[in-house]
Assembly symmetry: C2
Homo-oligomer: 364 residues x 2
């Protein structure tokens, strides 16, 4: 029995379907969207050989003409140049795509963001379906409509809000995921627990072994609980004007770590894990939370295979990058900090000193 | 006294202000948008030397930090590559832009479309102000939120719907416009008359001489009447699901003529003029309108300095291009035809033969 989570956004509402084998429902899902002429499945060089044919066959089996177009895997290809190649491929499809063509994003977070942005901008906006293939994409980027690519000066600086028409999360695909990629997604799961749901933290603690073994029923429940949190936050604040900012917990310093170390040299989840440890240390230093809950979060991240210490993070360099983040406002850095487990708030009085103090917690 | 037209789109509503000298209100207009940190004025190599400093000074005078960024003029620069350069320039501004930065599009249709698309996609969407400098942009592209760039395989294939926060139309700028550029805009004015407003056709006929001399008061009234029509159509159908399609009158064959002749070798308005003559001929051939109104439209276009005949338009080539237009649906070509002056309808039974017949009307 598949699990379903609704994302409520008025006329942009959609359903997230979670279960083992749901990729085979891609064709019927596309057909049910109505007035669908054809589909373009966008994937990368890692995922296309594994699941591309399955996706295309499901679409064709439902009477939807489908073509597979791909780009090289890797965060360094999350670029405007890749979009240029994808537009070329999209507009070369015969018969030509039109406004009834649906884009399918088949892959991890990079594929979802890039394909979603191409869908948002081809013919001024095509409908699209997210078929995430990594845990990180399952619980984070596939839901919420954030699309985009990186710019030389920062992550996700070019993009659009464009909600998918449907999201299909096949937890059977997690079986082949490398351990580091699994941990990558688990960082976001811990984040959701810290910002909204202490019971989710308990669930991850209790089922840690089964999660690390990727037991499909446990993964389906884990993904459903996380998607429900993400969906609730996004439904309340589609364009990040308010509480959606809470999802940035661990990401302000995390993004800066990614920029400093270099995209591709540290996984997003690893950087977010370090960012959460630093943010918790900052919350302890400010007297927002006790040391115990901070230690509990750190222990859980470690149990999930995530780094909680890292050498060589210069406080000055991190601060400089934070100042240039697109979420900074007029040179003011904002950070989301826990006020208790399951609840966070945004703080605007972040100084280089407080960041320096927080970064000390990351020293080996 | 300036003229104002409201574009009603719920929380995306905005006001179009029309008058001689309104470019000097750019600064106060930006400041009134609220929570504005800075502005990036995007212009091209033709317009920036003429009005760039005036725009920047108006902004700074209102306490809004402003930088001017430019790209080479010409339809051939309405491209993803130009966007890449503009993102580079935008993200190099210091202090860094953030979500409170407003983009100003200062120029003709190409600038408005490109700057609007950059605004739609930088930091996942910045607010922007349209300051059109040509009659075509005044009465057509500056209102309605269509943004985008061309792709090698077709016009405006990459883009987004992104409504401006305000539109300032300074009719004093029309004084320096080349005659051919004036005619370019007049084609859209005639179009608006044919699709919605026979009285507008009369106005253009009666004031033809003053229009061709660009008398500011007459131009302000002309622009206001046209913007009112465009605003009403856009308010009723923001995303081109219904009556907004009526604005494509003359554009289906017109776009094909542009592609066939080559962008930059025929002005948009010239192509649309030919497209309207052909569409009227098609309407006469189908018995939708009499020959008299078709002749009247043709005479008015000619009076406005627009071409109504052109050699060397192969019907086969035009048809092939029409089939690949993004507005074609699954290989079906749709055309907007007049059923009387001031009223049009969309027809889906367009065949190569009917296009061939219509194109005969364009033979010298």
């Amino acid at each position: 029995m598949n699990r379903k989570v609704a994302v409520n956004l008025a006329e942009r509402s959609y359903t997230v379907t979670i279960g083992a084998g749901v990729l085979d429902q891609l064709g019927p899902t596309a057909a049910e969207m109505g007035d669908v002429q054809s589909a373009a499945v966008v994937s990368d060089s890692n995922v296309a050989p594994l699941y591309g044919a399955q996706a295309v066959e499901s679409l064709r089996g439902a009477g939807v003409g489908a073509e597979l177009i791909t780009f090289p895997a890797g965060e360094e290809h999350k670029s405007l140049a890749t979009c240029g190649h994808l537009y070329d491929a999209l507009f070369a499809i015969s018969p030509p795509i039109d406004r009834r063509t649906v884009v399918v994003a088949l892959g991890g977070g990079v594929v979802g963001d890039v394909a979603g942005f191409v869908a948002a901008t081809a013919l001024r906006g095509l409908r699209y379906i997210q078929c995430p293939t990594t845990l990180l994409a399952d619980v984070d980027s596939s839901v919420g409509g954030k699309t985009g690519v990186d710019h030389a000066t920062g992550k996700n600086l070019i993009g659009a809000f464009h909600q998918p028409g449907a999201v299909l999360i096949d937890v059977a695909l997690l079986a082949s995921l490398p351990d580091a990629e699994l941990a990558n997604g688990l960082a976001e799961c811990v984040k959701h627990g810290v910002i909204r749901d202490p019971a989710l933290l308990e669930f991850i603690e209790d089922r840690a072994e089964e999660i690390l073994q990727r037991r499909p029923d446990v993964m389906a429940e884990l993904v459903e609980r996380n998607v429900a949190i993400k969906a609730a936050v996004v439904s309340a604040d589609e364009r990040e004007a308010g509480q959606r900012e809470h999802l940035n917990f661990g990401h302000t310093i995390g993004h800066a770590v990614e920029v400093l170390v270099g995209y591709g040299k540290v996984l997003h989840g690893e950087a977010v894990s370090l960012g959460m440890v630093a943010a918790c240390a900052m919350a302890v230093a400010r007297g927002l939370i006790e040391a115990d809950p901070a230690r509990r979060v750190e222990a859980l991240l470690k149990r999930m295979g995530l780094p909680v210490r890292r050498e060589g993070l210069s406080a000055d360099a991190i601060w400089d990058i934070m100042l240039h983040d697109k979420k900074a406002r007029g040179g003011q850095v904002r950070m989301v900090l826990p006020v208790m487990l399951g609840q966070v708030a945004t703080f605007e009085d972040i100084t280089p000193d407080t960041v320096g103090t927080a970064l000390k917690a990351l020293r080996p």
